[in-house]
Amino acid sequence: MDFVNKLAIWSAQLVFLILSKQSTSAPGLVATKIAPNLLTDILNSFSKPPILITGTNGKSTSTGFLANIFQSAGQEFTHNRSGANLKSGLLTAILKEKNLNNLEQAVLEVDEAVLHSLTSHRKAKLILVNNFFRDQLDRFGEMDKTISLVQKGLNLEPDGVLIANADDPNVCKLKASKIIYFGLSPQVWAGKNNPEIHAAELGHCPICATDLTYKAQWLGQFGDFYCSSCNYQKPKTDITITKLHLQVELSEVEVHFQDTNQKLNLKIPLAGLFNVYNALGAIASAYMVGFSLEQIKAGIENYQPLFGRSQIVNYRNKKLKIFLIKNPIGASEVLRLINLDSRAKVLILINDNYADSRDICWLWDSHFEYLKDKSPIYISGSRASDMSIRLTYAGLDKINYFRKIKTALNAFSDENNDQEHNLYILPTYTALLELTKLLKLEKK
């Protein structure tokens, strides 16, 4: 390693000392200023090419599952567990590793716009693309642009593989020399069509722009889709959920592997269909990396959720369930889950800082009508007023508004006895950070 890189690493370590070991971006930012190529130089120094995860929703959870499988199997690897997925965050995560010289591989969650700048310097062994939903359009402009950014970043090793969600028509548009598709068997969803899907979420053919037809549709634009005009359709899946039992706190699934005709039964320790997809993407990736079914099962089943991603925490002897919300599809799925729980009480925290997305119009595309019988709803955050307007139009007449998140949290937990109620908190990203501090929880 050359002198400039060493200098950059020392500087980063200095920043860690000055700020704290918890820094998620600043040390990487400083190091990049000194040695602009440091990140790609480090990636090139690893003996194995990187494994990268990208897409709109669930990157952190998918990466968490996959890293846990790596961990359980005793691999030497680095992983950006903080969820900071821009270049400075990736570098910070790697520089935090104590045994940098012994590492063989990086397993990284990567922002859609950053993928290309990594893979143009070191091709990936495997890239997992979860989904493309509307998210942070104010940052990327428009979604079609995001998809082409990712396509541009799909630089794979000759034996590399793209792991793609077969149920998302946007993802299936991606091209690579080898693709492994994962998804839900349509039989699993038979008779359970989701009536709440908004027209705006219906897919249209990314090839010829005709409206897609669905034999069944289950989550946003996910489903058994085909295009009547150009025959674009849901591809045959290689790794498939063949049985699915969604429960309030976890999901039980059966996964079928086409090439060897094996089946794997396992419990996914997070609630909701979106987490089934997050786990399935990780399972498919781990399988293609070469882990055994036993290793995969262990890594999934003993996974500890990331902070704020379907996590349950204790606060003043109350159990709080925290779900990060940031875009319509993810939020609607969380709301659907809460709707099923007759004992649910809800606190919603909406901020509009840059990391949340400055645009809060997505509240209108999220199905807050699911909370209709959950009055009163507690709200706070810099955009609580927009939230309150949205809830009013969703038919809720009683809303408890708090100027400060701290007061909201205390009122919420004091006024609701968790013997009778299940307490849910739905923060946006920066509200989650504030909540983390309030709950005095260390991020894992």
């Binding site: 027209a199 219906l202 119009c361 997505w362 209108w364 955009r383 309150s388 307007i389 009013t392």
Partner: protein
Amino acid sequence: MKIVQNSNQNTIYITHLYPQHMSLYGDRGNITVLAYKAKLAGIEVVVQNCSIGEKIDPKAQIILLGGGQDNDQEIIKSDLLKRKNELSDLIGNGSTFLGICGGFQLLGKSYQTADGKEIEGLNFLNMQTINAKPHEKRIIGNAIAESPLFGKLIGYENHGGRTFLPPELKPLGKIVQGGGNNGQDKTEGILTELDKGLILGTYFHGFLAKNPQVANYLLKRFFPSLKMPALSLLESMNQINNLQLNY
């Protein structure tokens, strides 16, 4: 305000054009707001979601066309242009056309996409939208306008296109904060009262939710004696909205 002879007695007919393609940034929320307010005032609401190839409800009184991504606007354009006469007849007979963002741009003669393609518009208004010049940024962020008719208007804008109104067309308001129609002349949106109908265009997303007085106005055109029940919480939240946010 011109009052439209309302033959529909106690029902309001609302048509949402191309909800699948043209409802970016929660534009469907405008329908939610109108429907909610009308129901609260005891009016029955019929909402039609009108997709490509479907016939617009001939009773449609308020027609919404929201924003879409560039490629969505290309998808719907030929179907939309086929409806030119149908739509102008409806507006000529008293209907209101509400165009948000892309739906506003398409009211004009033409609209240029980010990659320079020219899309023909409905040509209801003698205005044109051109692409941002290379050194110009997308207009993104929270915005405020002052309207002679409605007072303070707030919304969220996100558009690359620059819309220019000829002198004979009146904007909806004057920009106090944000970019508005083109980032230059401080105009925002358009408000054109015809003999009977009304054309309202704006770049503001979240339009009727954040500006309930406009929703009231649109309903009162058809129900002049309408007593709009106070949405006390809503209206006061809007106050907070105006005071607290960095508008």
